[in-house]
């Protein structure tokens, strides 16, 4: 795996660069997203993991300017150096047509059932970039080929395809505008396990072939580990921990990541009940002055409930950052475990 900084010149803006992003919704006491810092380099695959309601989907939607009504934002969300949050509707449409695209969770719901696949794939190009029908169809055929489908699909309706095939169509649609960034919002959740593996392999393959950056939103840790270069773990609207996938999952430095890994079912583990994280994430109606995970954290101290930890670089590992007051303890514990 090549490091992205070698493939892209240092001066080029990051494909996706989110800085100190805060999102506030009307009716919520605390921001839904707080100080989210996240970047995706050109051609890099980044996973964003977290449980339901942690704000991972909201983050990926914000990248395309799909904000909930009445949302207030702070910070910047830059795609290829341009701030999405200050874009005019016209610029946003340009961004969505070309630079960035999204793969949705349930292809069956996200594709208009009344239109042929060919229409679905080519419509955006034909309407928004003035490509003629023949050229758009040629591009669609090429993209279908890239995702392993034949041109026959162009004439078919969504109802005639299987879920896996439809998700491939969805991926082909995302590639139509030759985007620099693809946001995949739990693209495999609605598929069965074997199809899931196919789609993930396809995404990895396409990433290599087209050099697109991929932000992969998922709650499946195994999947995140398998596909991504780097991982962001999100909890209650904050980034809890980030780092290279292998290091992060091998030696978590945030108690939440550690707890998540512990609660993953394993076939080779000794029999017994699944470990679960006690309690539930803080509600949006509650003010959280300290660390949002403090109430469920085995390492929590008085400090944790008073002061929210900042996302700081880990000593000795510059690529990793964690937001925990007690990451040192975790590190010692994992070092002990390795020695023992």
């Amino acid at each position: 795996m090549t490091t992205p900084s070698k493939t892209a010149p240092k001066t080029a803006p990051k494909t996706l660069d989110i800085q100190a992003f805060r999102l506030h919704l009307p009716g919520a006491v605390r921001p839904v997203l707080t100080g989210v810092d996240l970047f995706v380099d050109a051609g890099e695959t980044v996973a964003l993991v977290g449980e339901s309601g942690s704000g991972k989907s909201l983050t990926s939607r914000s990248v395309l300017g799909l904000l909930p009504p009445g949302a207030g934002t702070e910070g910047t969300v830059r795609v290829n150096g341009e701030d999405v949050l200050t874009m005019t509707p016209e610029q946003l449409r340009g961004l969505r047509t070309g630079t960035a695209s999204m793969i949705f969770q349930d292809p069956r719901a996200a594709i208009n059932p009344l239109r042929r696949i060919g229409d679905f794939l080519t419509e955006s190009l034909r309407l928004n970039t003035r490509t003629d029908r023949a050229a758009a169809t040629a591009r669609a055929t090429e993209m279908l080929d890239a995702v392993g489908l034949t041109a026959k699909v162009l004439r078919q309706y969504p109802g005639q395809l299987s879920g896996g095939m439809l998700q491939r169509v969805m991926i082909a649609a995302a590639l139509m505008g030759d985007p620099a960034l693809i946001l995949a919002d739990e693209p495999t959740t609605a598929l069965d396990v074997t199809t899931q593996a196919e789609v993930v392999a396809l995404l990895a393959d396409l990433r290599e072939r087209f050099g697109t950056g991929l932000l992969f939103v998922t709650h499946d840790l195994g999947l995140a580990a398998a596909i991504s270069d780097r991982v962001y773990v999100m909890y209650a609207g904050r980034i809890a921990e980030t780092g290279p996938a292998e290091a992060l999952f091998g030696r978590p430095l945030h108690p939440y990541t550690a707890a998540l890994l512990d609660s993953t079912p394993r076939l080779d583990a000794p029999q017994g009940r699944l470990a679960a994280i006690e309690g539930r994430p803080p509600s949006l109606r509650d003010e959280v002055p300290g660390c949002p995970f403090a109430a469920r954290c085995p390492l929590a101290t008085f400090l944790c409930s008073q002061q929210a930890p900042a996302l700081l670089p880990v000593v000795g590992e510059p690529t990793r950052r964690t937001a925990c007051h007690h990451s040192d303890q975790l590190r010692e514990m994992s070092t002990d475990a390795t020695h023992a």
Binding site: R96, N112, P113, R115, S124, G177
Partner: protein, 284 residues
């Protein structure tokens, strides 16, 4: 999917699989439309030829449905009258559907204050009887089909716009709409190319039902002597012309157009209900 117009009791006969009533009504609708289109060639006599010597004659080989008090052939008038009697409602339905869909889509898609303004102002029209509005406009603008058609179109607009609004509100929540947004489509493009086509069947079914009611209203206006000019054959007008003959014991020239009106309205309603029913049962 729910739409109030779609669920009424006592429709079992329309709903059965083979639906003989529906087929009969569809056939009748087609027959009336065909007769209206071909009236100039099919009508046995000129509908306006007066033959006072033969006034109020009963049905005979020459005049199948008899003649009216002015000696005009009832069958010819009925066939030619079908043209104005169907053209009027067609105008009402076309205008109220187009404008109603536009208002409904705009209100649902934009939401906010625009939704409030549009919804409240169309509800205001509800509060005003359509017939009264038509009489008012005809009184101001005089004879002619255009004035009552526009008045009734305005009166029917809220039915369509309200239905459209509720359908679009449901439709815009479906994930494919967002998927199109993400592909860079503008709201207008999504509305025109995807949302409207997918709700169109329901709207058309409602409009078919509206057609029957509009026909009834226009016939009522014509009966009151409003709308169509005096000499133009029109079913409502024929009932009006025939009412004095009823008092003289010759009801036929009034009863025949009455029957035509009733049968056509019923046929349009049955067909519309059936379509609405099929659409609402369609797996969505």
């Amino acid at each position: 999917m729910t739409a109030t117009v779609l669920h009424r009791p006592g429709l079992a006969r329309i709903r059965t699989a083979r639906a003989p009533l529906y087929r009969i009504c569809l056939g009748f609708v087609l027959l009336v439309v065909l007769l209206a289109l071909l009236a100039p060639w099919l009508a046995p006599y000129d509908p306006n030829t007066v033959d006072l010597g033969n006034a109020l004659a009963g049905p005979s080989g020459e005049h199948l449905l008899g003649v009216d008090a002015s000696g005009r052939d009832t069958l010819s008038r009925l066939m030619t009258g079908a043209r104005t009697s169907l053209l009027g409602p067609l105008g009402v339905v076309a205008f109220s559907t187009l404008a109603g869909v536009a208002v409904g889509v705009l209100a649902a898609w934009r939401g906010g204050w625009l939704d409030s303004v549009l919804s409240r102002s169309t509800e205001l029209i509800f509060a005003f009887p359509g017939m009264l509005l038509a009489i008012l406009i005809v009184a101001v603008y005089g004879e002619g089909l255009l004035a009552p058609v526009i008045a009734l179109a305005v009166a029917y607009l809220p039915y369509v716009s309200r239905l459209t609004r509720s359908l679009v509100l449901a439709e815009r929540e479906r994930p494919y709409v967002e998927a199109y947004q993400v592909q860079g489509h503008s709201g207008l493009q999504i509305c025109l190319r995807h949302v409207v086509p997918s709700i169109a069947p329901v709207i058309l079914a409602q409009s078919t039902i509206n057609f029957g009611y509009a026909l009834l209203d226009l016939a009522g206006l014509a009966f009151l002597g409003l709308g169509v000019p005096a000499l133009t054959p029109d079913w409502g007008r024929m009932v009006f012309d025939g009412q004095s003959a009823i008092q003289q014991g010759y009801p036929l020239s009034a009863v025949v157009p009455c029957a035509a009106i009733v049968l056509t309205v019923v046929a349009f309603n049955v067909v519309g209900e059936r379509w609405a029913d099929q659409v609402s049962r369609r797996d969505r």
